[in-house]
């Protein structure tokens, strides 16, 4: 049975690390729904969040193969426990006549914000779980979507547990 997993990876912030992760997924035929990566508070570390869909066996292989990459320090499958996921979407829609109010109500309902306005266009910012963004897209189809951009998922575990590097600094540099 395939299910959706959010894998959070802590890795060395080095050129080439992203290519290795992307190469691994394409070489082994693993699926990537979204992938985000950025440095952490420690500039030598990057945090990557990968959303993938696969069977238990495939996801086990994904985590093992990721762990095998030399740059990967630690990872966790957030979906194994309580977690929070967020994704940011910017969406530009046609907004004329009565649609303008309707769209605004929809944006409020989804707790988004209209961040840019012209006579015929709204640009909306929306944050939430991916499913919420999907819901908004479904609803906003009452008008024409001109452009849509999503960041992909970022995730973090609830409670005390934290994905962090071992304290001792490596002598990599």
């Amino acid at each position: 049975m395939d299910s959706r997993h959010i894998i959070s990876v802590l890795l060395e912030n080095e050129p080439g690390a992203l290519a290795r992760v992307a190469g691994l997924f394409s070489a082994r035929g693993f699926n990537i729904e979204t992938l985000t990566v950025a440095p952490t508070e420690d500039p030598t570390l990057s945090r990557m969040t990968i959303v993938t869909v696969g069977s238990e066996g495939v996801v086990e292989q994904i985590t093992k193969q990721l762990n095998k990459l030399i740059e990967v320090i630690k990872l966790v499958d957030l979906t194994e426990d309580k977690h929070i996921e967020r994704e940011l979407m910017l969406i530009k829609v046609r907004a004329v006549g009565e649609q303008r109010d309707e769209i605004k109500r929809l944006v409020e309902f989804f707790r988004g914000r209209v961040i840019d306005v012209t006579q015929s266009v709204y640009t909306v910012e929306l944050t939430g779980a991916s499913s919420k963004l999907d819901g908004f897209i479904e609803q906003v189809k009452l008008t024409e979507i001109l452009e849509l951009v999503r960041t992909g998922v970022s995730g973090i575990a609830r409670g005390e547990s934290a994905l962090s590097a071992p304290k001792s600094r490596s002598n990599n540099k």
Binding site: L11, E12, P15, G16, A19, R20, G23, A27, G57, E60, Q61, K64, Q65, N67, K68, I70, E71, V72, I73, A165, P166, S168, R169, S170, N171, N172, K173
Partner: protein, 577 residues
């Protein structure tokens, strides 16, 4: 004192204990070549094609256990090594590849002989580095050797731009290294080892299936201790041959596509399987749905991703094969022995009845040279003590079946990638590592031509390798598949316009011998091996139609083996299955 990057690199190699490197010069590597010229500690073997350098370094690593080192220039230099890097990667061989790169300010400009070396090698390396600053060079080299030869070994590429080899800095080679992101597990989990031990002691139809990981970890003695203490049957993969002695009565032969009848049926019918340092490759398992249906599986591997990848495992143990086997032996010895001392006698009886089929029998009365005969005689003439490299094809399988390896690191072949062209350059690396040993390359007339240029390297460095060319005028293994699965349509598998191999060898300054009579096989091999200081190219004109048996067709089960017509008749009734 400050040194240039090139001098630092060579000093690093020396401090790492590297005695030989295999390479080929070119623009981006010229500072490094200049640094090599100025010293004698690190010796350089000039190959004739960069693929040869990678295979030679690979052969060197397989017999010494130390990383093989390759030095090539940018662009075509590094692309030519890719087959060799991939070969080492598939067989988990430690290797460090140093590639020159265009100067840092030119990277990305499509400069002359620029190729994205990290990009083109990425899928077939364990890790790779681009050194952008000479101050990082020594640490990077240290890390590369550490990564290449720990955990599951593999090739590491270091790409070094030309300006980095010219820039200067203080030389300090780190004594030790630790990396927060790389810490292979070597000790097996004690609880799991105990579970494994109990399972083994309860088994009624056990089998121990050991692969190349045992040789790589140096765990052959621990494997012997375990197998002999338990008196259980042991089979080896193609990569593992020699890690359990082929002449030991507990050894039941190689398993897999061309494995023995007894090994494959024992894999199929067993109730407990201990797999050590092997990875359930498709050439081993055949159809996974039919694989070993009655067994509980214990899998020991240093690479967690090997465990549970192809088959479900009951007792996974992540760790170094040698360490885990040592722990397993002591736990097994400390547990109450199973009071039912007779419990595996029926199993041995069964295995011995499978054995009696003599699945490797061949026609000894033929007036054509049977390839099996050549290998059997080679084994006898060399007293089983040669280092044997091979290429890929039927000859490889016959060598694996008929040369009975009693020691690990003696059988050098490309198991995972199946690289034709591997045998001769690998033999060079083996001989350089063992300057007094008998080194034999078993090959076919198609494979040998793929790296034939290395005959010239053998001349330059006096490498008296013995080439056993089983010349069937066909890409035999391809022809065999075409005979079985394509209705005898031998599409492009006939080797037309072959050279006269005797003349060819002689034009390189070596000796060539052609043998076409079965009666001359033994004597010619004796003569060949007696010529200690010469490379001898033995061109054996063999039976064109001989096939490798037993054979499990791809996608079949272990109990669906094809046997040749020469064994002791049809298989008997099976008790199980």
């Amino acid at each position: 004192m400050e040194l240039t990057g090139a001098d630092i690199l060579v000093r690093c190699l020396k401090d790492e204990g590297v005695d030989y490197i295999f390479g080929y010069p070119g623009g981006a590597a010229l500072h490094i070549y200049d640094a090599l010229y100025k010293q004698d500690d690190v010796r350089h073997i000039l190959v004739r094609h960069e693929q040869g350098a990678a295979h030679a370094a690979d052969g060197y690593a397989r017999v010494t256990g130390r990383p093989g080192v390759v030095l090539v220039t940018s662009g075509p230099g590094v692309t030519n090594t890719i087959t060799g890097i991939a070969t080492a990667h598939m067989d988990s061989i430690p290797m460090v590849v140093l590639s020159g790169q265009v100067a840092t300010h030119l990277i990305g400009d499509d400069a002359f002989q620029e190729v994205d070396a990290l990009g083109v090698t990425r899928p077939c390396v364990k890790h790779s580095f681009l050194v952008r600053d000479v101050r990082d060079l020594a640490t990077t080299v240290k890390q590369a050797f550490y990564i290449a030869n720990t955990g599951r070994p593999g090739p590491v590429v270091i790409d070094i731009p030309k300006d980095v080899t010219a820039n200067k800095t203080e030389y300090i080679y780190p004594k030790t290294i630790s990396m927060r992101s790389y810490n292979p597990t070597v000790r097996g989990h004690p609880g799991q080892i105990k579970r494994a031990a109990k399972l083994l002691l309860e088994a009624e139809r056990p089998i121990i299936y050991a692969g190349g990981g045992v040789s790589l970890s140096g765990g052959e003695q621990e494997l012997r201790d375990l197998v002999r203490h338990l008196q259980y049957p042991c089979t080896n993969t193609l990569m593992g041959l020699g890690c359990y002695p082929a002449n030991d009565p507990l050894f039941i032969g190689m398993l897999g596509m061309h494995g023995t009848y007894e090994a494959n049926l024992a894999m199929h019918d067993c109730d407990v399987m201990l797999s050590v340092g092997a990875r359930f490759d498709d050439r081993i398992t055949g159809d996974l749905a039919k694989f070993s249906p009655y067994s509980k599986i214990i899998h020991v591997d240093i690479d967690p991703s090997s465990i549970g990848k192809n088959v479900n495992v009951d007792v996974p143990i992540v760790g170094d094969a040698k360490r885990v086997l040592a722990d397993l032996v002591s736990v097994v010895k400390n547990l109450e022995p199973n009071p039912d001392t007779n419990r595996i006698s029926a199993w041995w009886k069964q295995i011995n009845s499978w054995r009696s089929i003599d699945c490797l029998a061949f026609d000894r009365d033929s007036d054509k040279i049977k390839p099996q005969l050549v290998l059997e005689k080679l084994y006898e003439v060399t007293k089983g003590d040669a280092f044997v490299t091979s290429d890929v094809g039927q000859h490889q399988m016959w060598a694996a079946q008929f040369y009975r390896f009693d020691k690990p690191r003696r059988w050098i072949n490309s198991g995972g990638l199946g690289t034709m062209g591997f045998g001769l350059p690998a033999a060079m690396g083996v001989r350089i590592a063992n300057p007094d040993a008998d080194v034999v390359c078993v090959t076919g007339e198609a494979s040998i031509i793929m790296c034939i240029q290395e005959l010239s390297t053998c001349k330059q460095y006096d490498l008296p390798i013995k080439i056993i060319n089983l010349n069937n005028r066909y890409m035999g293994m391809v022809r065999q598949w075409q005979e079985f699965f394509y209705d005898n349509r031998y599409s492009h598998s006939y080797m037309d316009a072959l050279p006269n191999f005797v003349d060819l060898a002689e034009s390189f300054g070596h000796r060539g011998m052609r043998v076409d009579n079965p009666a001359d096989v033994e004597e010619s091999l004796i003569e060949c091996m007696a010529r200690k200081d010469e490379l001898v190219f033995m061109d054996f004109i063999t039976d064109q139609r001989e096939n490798v048996f037993p054979m499990i067709a791809a996608g079949s089960g272990h109990n669906e083996m094809h046997l040749g017509s020469t064994g002791n008749g049809a298989p008997q009734e099976r008790e199980l299955a």
